[in-house]
């Protein structure tokens, strides 16, 4: 029920931002349609802790800025590799451990790896992620487990 209410709130906020209409009739229509959309979604059983992870919102305030900083750093690294005439790549395939307990946590970790330029998660299985990295250094950084610990803290578990 709590998830239903917060999903309606988020959907309605989304509708308001996209429409920009603030006349009473349209706002009521918007409210009715957001309730209808969430009602349909909960009949599909996707409005739960996994499908609507609103509890991550608070911790996202420090995780996302950190992730964006990582993206900028490694993006510049990859750009330097692309632009250097000798193309100094050393493609590496590596398995990393995902210490997250929830599915949302593992997906966040795999997506963060892929989002960071220079590393792509190729295959995910339970708590193991196969990663293709453009340089050996990038792969070793990842194997160091810094991002893994950050994501584990993000999903609310104890830092490993």
């Amino acid at each position: 029920m709590l998830y239903f209410a917060s999903a309606v709130a988020v959907t309605y906020a989304f509708w308001l931002v996209l429409s920009g209409h603030f006349t009473p009739t349209l706002m009521i229509i918007g409210a009715v349609s957001s309730v209808a959309v969430v009602a349909l979604a909960s009949r599909m059983a996707v409005i739960d802790r996994e499908g609507h992870p609103i509890y991550l919102l608070v911790r996202a305030t420090w995780y996302w800025p950190w992730l964006i900083w990582q993206i900028i750093k490694s993006g510049l690294d990859v750009s330097r590799i692309i632009l250097s005439p000798s193309l100094p790549i050393s493609p590496t395939l590596i398995n990393v451990k995902a210490s997250q307990k929830t599915v949302v946590g593992v997906v966040t970790y795999a997506n963060s790896i892929t989002l960071t330029p220079g590393t792509v998660s190729v295959e995910v299985e339970d708590d193991e992620i196969t990663v293709h990295a453009i340089t050996r250094d990038g792969a070793m950084d990842l194997a160091g487990g810094d991002m893994d610990r950050k994501v584990t803290r993000f999903e609310g578990g104890a830092p490993a």
Binding site: F14, V17, L18, G20, I68, I71, I72, G75, L76, V78, S79, I81, I82, L83, L87, I89, S90, P91, T92, L93, I94, N95, A110, N111, S112, I113, T114, L115, T116, P117, G118, T119, V120, S121, V122, E123, V124, E125, D126, E128, I129, T130, H132, I134, R136, A139, A143
Partner: protein
Amino acid sequence: MAVIVDILSWIFLVAGGAFCVIGMIGLIRMPDVFARLHGASVTDTLGAGFIITGLVLQAGLTQVSAKLIIIMGLILLTSPVATHALAQAALHAGIRPKLAHDETGGHIAGAEAGAGEDESSNS
């Protein structure tokens, strides 16, 4: 003040455009499917990110900015999924990455150990 914001936003827009071009160069220069994805991900993240930041600065505190930020969020959530799907599909299709180092010991997550890994490792 308006001039400073204007200059700043153009710096972001030009940087974003430059990263898009760099990503494209990477796409062309890299040797195989998996390495090419790394080039493309520069366009995805830094290119799109800088351009949208520049556009937000142009739009100021308006509804347009809110929409732009939603678009950025959408890109950040969907592009890794697409990249992962592409990489996984390539692997399942039997394309082996050209590797300088194979640290997996022939084991790929979710696959039976050592299946068909022999010919491309340590090339």
